[in-house]
């Protein structure tokens, strides 16, 4: 055995030196022959003859000297490419298959990379944590920060370098002035504490960030804008810092511009205004803010949570208010510290990893398919290769040939695949309704993605080439010559390998089909949930009435009344209303404590914590505009700004929870332990207003005319996140969609030019958006499984046809001996289906093991749902049958006379 490391010790002897030695040998030999009596010419000729093939010896020397194949890579690749060009059908099929696999994997990986793996664009993002609280209350399990907890944590903690607070709050933005300049647009915005920018560690590209004293309400209004807004709205005006803009009707001075990378808290946040927290006047139980902390080096989230748990009971001492030590204890309130990345990404990871898994399966299927094509090709070349082996071609050379072909196909497929991926991502980003995936803007093909694609390509090349190469390597020359001569059929082991590849394809395709089927059934189940409102011909229009322009609650009511009056008179409008929270929209949700008359909460009066429920404000017409039925009692009285009726309408689910089968109408609720009672005058049907896959809402609707006034100030309004100034008009119209929305928008604009109308959409769109992630996952899995089916079908078809063509002789003999065509057809079909059945059985096993991972994405369908599995098996079976049918028929059509004659 040669020591494989010997070449490292070798002195490098140039090829020329070896050639010179041979030349010297020939001269010496000729000299000797001359001495023996030959003429010079004869002697030289004889010396050459005795030496044999000089070129071969020199080439052999060269190959042993250099690590042959490494130097030969470009040459091998060229040869491989040339061979592939000569077999265009094979090459195109193989390349496209690989391109599909790589394209799918690359596109999905770029999603995973851009959304999940890419670090957050902040300094040392791993030290950033979200700080919130867990809480045990009926209807509430989690709260963020109140001004008091934020201020106290920031002041007293020992674990953070600093803590910042923020709150997403979109604004109306316009230029300072009147007329056209006053025309406002709706801009995604956030309130932010001065400390937030330092905590995140991002510096402004122009100007400065907020100062601590600007956190206080009543400070001179300032604003920071995003680079994108600066470019789009202000044409990158170099004088932007120091200029004035109108935010919610108030003049603000622009003090800074944040770089594009600072997309916080949302991708589209374009403007930041100071948070406006007053330490001297806190609302301690209104958990309206979110907080981000920067952990000190070496500090863990768990240690931070422990430190905060020590501080929380002391908050009431520092900031007396409704958040009492008793309330903290009774509700088991505890600080929760989680990595910021987890909080920003939400649950999107589940879906993305599942889709990436599907893409990887698709790539594997493509690999198995192309490996099979290569195997067939290798078999066709077996004879040629055996001859070449017999003539002295090294095994290494032949293995290198297979790899060069594999690499050529894979690289070409990889390049095409990346192009496909780029196109796919582009399509994904331009999807109109959005796919409810955060950080989508940063998704693209970058270095990491390219590296992954290159890795996948090489792996693909390896998988595709290794089996044919190994087979050719293992096979001895003579045995191959015998085996592939026409008088024999191809070896059994070769068929086995091909069958294994087909089994892999069928099995993986079955997994993908099942996954897609489960998602489709979930989606179907989701969409067949009765949302509790009628989506057809119902439209929403959002507005926010700024304090500056509508200082008194009366003026808000006046605006709403006039707007509804004018909208009602538009042609086609059947009902119109205004409501603070549109079902299935996430904006403007408000949860508040609700006390029921006559119900003493468990734990005793004064001791007990109230239940928390969603409260929404609505005008009488909004129920019929949304198509929410009033199943008991009636809707609100016509609003009268001067005399707010103390009325409430509750959802069925709410009524069931507190009053069971007893009538709800006439019961009374209030929103503070003391204060006015609101009488229930109506009960709506069940409304799935939070998410379709969650139980119906337990909501209390109050008349919209109740603006935060003296009656509520010492009561529920304390814990409200909602402002009655942000609301949605809901309109039911018989007109065509376009004709329905445009006049309403025009009416609202003419009524208040400075108030932008946004979020104009039909309720159907609202439902679509709420199920976007499920439909997105389902769509991608469906694409993947369809592709898998096509590739799998082609693969099975190819293998069965090839087996038939190899056995044509055997079939011909059988027919000559009297076998019936029908029996032969059944036989071929049976053999093909046997392979498919093995694939299906294996696939079922893999499915049952792997479907657990998508359980989190499913709705009302079990991961091992029998009907879905049966359906997937049926689809796979039909496809396999179709793929085997044509070759089976061809087998039956073999003409024994012709086939046997050509064999002589």
């Amino acid at each position: 055995m040669r020591n494989p490391l010997l070449f490292l010790r070798r002195r490098r002897r140039p090829d020329a030196d070896f050639a010179e030695e041979i030349a010297a040998h020939l001269e010496l030999e000729a000299d000797r022959l001359v001495a023996e009596g030959l003429s010079r010419r004869e002697a030289v000729h004889e010396a050459h003859r005795r030496f044999g093939n000089i070129g071969l010896v020199q080439e052999d020397f060269h190959r042993r000297r250099t690590i042959g194949w490494m130097e030969a890579i470009p040459q091998q690749l060229r040869r491989g490419a040339r061979r592939l060009v000569r077999a265009p059908l094979f090459s195109i099929t193989a390349t496209l298959t690989i391109a599909l696999g790589i394209g799918a994997t690359t596109a999905v990986f770029s999603l995973v990379n851009g959304v999940l793996l890419r670090p957050l664009p902040f300094a040392h993002p791993d030290r950033l944590v979200d700080i919130s609280h867990s809480i045990v209350l009926q209807g509430l399990s989690h709260v963020d920060q109140s001004d008091a907890t934020y201020l106290y944590y920031r002041r007293a903690n020992h674990v953070f370098t600093d803590v910042g607070a923020y709150r997403a709050a979109d604004v109306n933005l316009s230029a300072v002035g009147s007329g056209d300049a006053a025309r406002a647009r709706r801009v995604e915005a956030a309130r932010a504490s001065a400390s937030l920018f330092g905590v995140l560690g991002v510096a402004p590209m122009r100007g400065r960030v907020f100062r601590d004293d600007e956190d206080l309400p009543g400070a001179i209004p300032v604003a920071i804008i995003a680079e994108r807004l600066w470019q789009e709205q202000y044409a990158s005006d170099p004088g932007i810092v120091g200029s004035e803009i109108m935010v919610d009707g108030v003049v603000h001075e622009v003090i800074g511009v944040m770089p594009r990378s600072f997309a916080f808290p949302d991708e589209g946040t374009a403007l930041w205004v100071p948070i406006g927290i007053d330490p001297a006047n806190t609302k301690t139980a209104a958990f309206d803010y979110r907080a981000v902390g920067r952990l000190r080096p070496g500090m863990t989230p768990a240690a931070a949570a422990a430190d905060l748990a020590r501080l929380l009971p002391k908050v009431p001492e520092a900031f007396p208010g409704r958040l009492t030590a008793n309330a903290i204890a009774l509700t088991h309130m505890e600080p929760v510290v989680r990595p910021l990345r987890d909080v920003l990404l939400g649950g999107v990871g589940d879906a993305l990893w599942v889709i990436l898994g599907a893409a990887a399966f698709l790539l594997l299927i493509a690999c198995a398919n192309v490996a099979n094509l290569f195997l067939v090709r290798a078999e066709e070349r077996q004879h040629e290769l055996a001859v070449r082996r017999a003539l002295g071609a090294g095994r290494g050379v032949i293995v290198a040939e297979f790899f060069s072909e594999g690499v050529s196909v894979a690289v070409l497929g990889g390049v095409l695949g990346v192009a496909l991926a780029v196109a796919g991502i582009h399509a994904l980003r331009s999807m109109p309704s959005g796919i409810a995936i955060p950080r989508l803007g940063g998704v693209g093909v970058d270095g990491t993605v390219l590296a992954a694609a290159a890795g996948a390509t090489l792996l693909t090349a390896f998988i595709m080439s290794v089996v044919p190469a190994l087979r050719s390597y293992g096979a001895g020359g003579a045995s191959v010559l015998v085996q592939t001569s026409r008088s024999a059929t191809a070896g059994r082991s070769r068929h086995r390998t091909r069958r294994v590849f087909v089994v892999v394809q069928v099995a993986l395709a079955l997994v993908l089909i099942t996954g897609a089927g489960l998602m489709a059934r979930s989606f179907q189940a989701l969409r067949s949930v009765n949302p509790g409102f009628d989506t057809a011909r119902s439209y929403t229009f959002r507005v926010q009435l700024p304090n500056a322009a509508y200082p008194a609650s009366g003026s808000v009511v006046g605006y709403v009344t006039r707007a509804l009056d004018e909208i009602s008179r538009l042609p086609g409008v059947q009902a119109a209303g205004a409501i603070s929270k549109v079902p299935l929209e996430t904006e403007a949700r408000q949860d508040t404590a609700v006390f029921m008359e006559g119900k003493v909460p468990a734990g005793g009066m004064g001791q007990a914590m109230p239940d928390i429920h969603q409260v929404a404000y609505a005008t009488p017409g909004s129920f019929s505009a949304l198509g929410i039925p009033i199943i008991e009692g009636r809707s609100f009285d016509v609003p009268d700004a001067s005399r707010a009726p103390l009325q409430a309408i509750v959802t069925s689910a709410f009524a069931r929870r507190y009053w069971g089968d007893e009538p709800a109408v006439g019961r009374r609720v209030r929103f503070a332990p003391v204060g006015p009672w609101f009488t229930v005058i109506g009960v709506t049907g069940d409304v799935h207003g939070t998410r379709l896959d969650e139980p119906p809402d337990e909501t209390v609707y109050l008349p919209l005319v109740i603006a935060p006034g003296p009656a509520m100030a010492n009561g529920g309004a304390d814990s409200t996140r909602w402002s009655p100034r942000e609301l949605a008009f809901v309109v039911r119209s018989s007109a065509a969609p376009h004709d329905a929305t445009l006049p309403v928008e025009r009416t609202l604009r003419s009524l208040a030019p400075a108030v932008p109308v946004y979020g104009v959409r039909s309720m159907e769109e609202v439902v679509d958006r709420s199920t976007a992630r499920t439909s997105f996952t389902m769509g991608l899995l469906e694409i993947a499984s369809l592709t898998a089916l096509v590739i799998g079908e082609v693969g099975l078809y190819g293998v069965v046809s090839y087996m038939v063509s190899l056995r044509e002789r055997e079939i011909a003999v059988r027919m000559a001996l009297g076998a019936q065509p029908g029996a032969l057809r059944r036989r071929v079909l049976g053999e093909a289906m046997a392979v498919a059945v093995v694939g299906i059985v294996v696939g079922l096993g893999v499915t049952l093991l792997s479907m657990r991972v998508i359980a989190a994405l499913l709705f009302e369908v079990a991961p091992n749902d029998a009907a879905t599995l049966a359906g997937a098996v049926a689809v796979m079976g039909v496809v396999a049958l179709a793929a085997s049918w044509i070759p089976a028929r061809r087998a039956a059509a073999v003409d024994p006379a012709t086939t046997l004659r050509t064999d002589i």
């Binding site: 070896f18 041979i22 040998h25 010496l28 030496f51 010896v57």
Partner: protein, 115 residues
């Protein structure tokens, strides 16, 4: 004597023959071939085409070393000589060869019977 009558070298024997030849002194490739041929009284014809790769192989293993020099008739040639390791290898390989040959003889029986 035709080529057909000459002995075909068993695998691995060429290396041993080269080492043995070089044990008597340094020589160039053509010289080695000639020496083997004449020592075997022309029974063994060394295939020139495999001689040089064999020399290279032995050189790679450090059993022989080479340098360019001038032949007796003033031709430039690459001369080989045995290294210490090569001498040890020769001893070892010779011993192996004889034990192999003895074993073969035992199985085949006395030469006369082949006759």
């Amino acid at each position: 004597m035709s080529t057909r009558d000459r002995l075909q070298l068993l695998q691995g024997t060429l290396d041993l023959l080269i080492l043995r030849t070089l044990a008597s002194g340094r020589a160039h490739g053509q010289g080695v071939a000639r020496a083997i041929q004449s020592a075997s009284r022309d029974s063994i014809l060394v295939d020139h085409g495999s001689l040089y790769p064999a020399l290279q192989r032995l050189e790679d293993r450090g059993w022989i070393r080479a340098e360019w020099g001038t032949s007796e008739n003033n031709r430039r040639a690459r001369f080989y000589e045995l290294t210490a390791a090569g001498r040890r290898q020769l001893t070892r390989a010779t011993r192996e060869w004889w034990s192999f040959a003895d074993a073969m003889a035992l199985v085949l029986g006395p030469q006369s019977s082949v006759g």
